[in-house]
């Protein structure tokens, strides 16, 4: 069973001005981070239970906390996976989803099973690829998109060209 108490308590502790403005000693700042991270775990269980109940399907949900540095073991290895996007705003939003993937071509379908446009972009100065597709998510709701590798086809991944050289 999930539990948000520890995250609530961590957030309560972090109302201290040291946490808000970074004026604590390093070991205290590290402990703030530890408390937050410890709170995330049980909250993710809570979210998974809620999503299972609301979506009607018991899934092994994965929370990729490092998407901002293009790390997500599931999307980088699985041949097919589901992407659930939850929108906390009180209005529908269109959101560009970016997920690190392996070097393949992918088929992305929206909740109605319709194929949506997607791209695989290679990150310059690295060989990482990112899958992009635009998701439409209802107000205070979620949408579930399915992603499937297209066997056999290698990506015409959009690599980058040099934009400018060092001025003479």
């Amino acid at each position: 069973s999930g539990d948000s108490t520890s995250l609530n308590e961590a957030m309560a502790v972090l109302q201290h001005h040291d946490a808000v403005s970074g004026t604590s000693q390093q070991h205290v700042a590290d402990d703030y981070a530890r408390q937050l991270a410890a709170g995330w775990g049980p909250c993710e269980v809570l979210l998974s239970n809620a999503l299972s109940r609301l979506s009607g399907s018991k899934e092994e949900f994965t929370f990729c906390r490092n998407l901002n540095i293009s790390v997500c073991p599931l999307s980088q290895t699985a041949e097919s996976f589901q992407v659930t996007i939850y929108n906390p705003l009180g209005r529908k939003v269109d959101w560009m989803v970016r997920l690190p993937v392996s070097q393949h071509v992918f088929l992305v379908k929206d909740p109605s099973g319709t194929v949506v446009p997607s791209d695989v972009v290679t990150m310059p100065s690295s060989d990482m690829q990112e899958l992009l597709f635009s998701a439409s998510v209802p107000a205070l709701g979620f949408s579930i998109y399915s992603v499937t590798q297209v066997p056999g086809r290698s990506p015409q991944a959009h690599t980058s060209q040099p934009g400018s050289q060092k001025p003479s």
Binding site: T23, G56, S57, K58, N68, V83, S134, G163
Partner: protein
């Protein structure tokens, strides 16, 4: 052409072909053209001087001179253009890079900056800023938010509630920016949305700066008892600034709606799929 451009239906961003720096923004909906140069700089942190022994530290921002140092006059750039995104990747130095992005239908330019680990081997603490310079005649005024709600007018070297004797021309004009900072000449407005609280200011007419990362070598004597100096090589930080150019009369719609989307952005959860039904039958 050699001019580096990324563009969607609403916005066009141009980059200097030789330096790779952003030099111009155009709002295509309202035909607003604004030369704007964006670059990264760093202030050399003060270790005290003849005017004051005050050191720059966790509580106190105090550069040792008014002018920050330019991170680099140019950036090595790489361009990515697909149907779903146009990006210019800028590499300024080993510890400073940025991706400037435009998605279809988007009315703001996304600047994803990555700064750090800040080197301090030269014995200098560094306080890194991203700065936007334009020709907007802003008459010493700029605007910052208060916790994403009230917008406060700021005037350089001035306080509304007392006669200010400005002794710190840089730090004395820095204010908290929780979600946005903007400048306007009454016709055009340039707004920068932040994805976290930062220090910000407008130290010259037409200019906006936001502090993105700091690494200091001395304690500032205000109670922490240690320098703002992560262990080891130090942390590197990644964040995003969203830049909007609009008519001053309608700019609030754009930045308020976008800022809500930024603050309450969608959460992504993955699953292998094919799970068993939750409800019996």
């Amino acid at each position: 052409s050699r001019i580096l451009t990324i563009q969607n239906e609403h916005l066009r961003a141009r980059f200097d072909p030789d330096t790779g720096l952003l030099v111009e923004l155009k709002n295509l909906d309202h035909d607003l053209l604004l030369p704007v140069r964006q670059a990264f700089y760093w202030y050399n942190a003060s270790t005290g001087n003849n005017l004051s022994t005050q050191v720059s530290g966790a509580y106190i921002f105090r550069p040792n001179r008014q002018e920050p140092l330019l991170m680099n006059h140019w950036a090595q750039t790489r361009v990515v253009k697909t149907a779903l995104v146009q990006e210019v990747h800028q590499n300024f130095s080993a510890w400073c890079s940025q991706v400037v992005r435009l998605y279809p239908g988007q009315r703001h330019l996304e600047l994803e900056w990555t700064v750090g680990p800040i080197p301090v081997g030269d014995g200098w603490g560094k306080e890194v800023i991203s700065r936007f310079d334009t020709a907007l005649e802003t008459k010493g005024l700029f605007f910052t938010d208060s916790n994403g709600r009230e917008i406060l007018e700021r005037r350089r070297d001035y306080r509304p509630t007392w006669e200010l004797n400005q002794t710190e021309p840089v730090a004395g004009n820095y204010y908290p920016v929780n979600s946005r900072i903007y400048i306007t000449d009454g016709n055009m407005q340039l707004t920068v949305l932040t994805d976290r609280s930062q220090g910000g200011s407008s130290l010259k007419d037409g200019s906006i700066e936001l502090m993105v990362h700091r690494r200091l070598l001395r304690d500032d004597g205000r109670g922490v008892g240690e320098a703002l100096l992560e262990k080891g090589s130090g942390s590197w930080v990644r964040g995003r600034h969203l830049v909007l150019l609009d008519k001053a009369s309608i700019a609030a719609v754009g930045h308020r709606l976008q800022s809500e989307k930024e603050l309450l952005s969608p959460q992504v959860v993955l699953a292998p799929g094919g799970g068993s039904p939750y409800h019996r039958g």
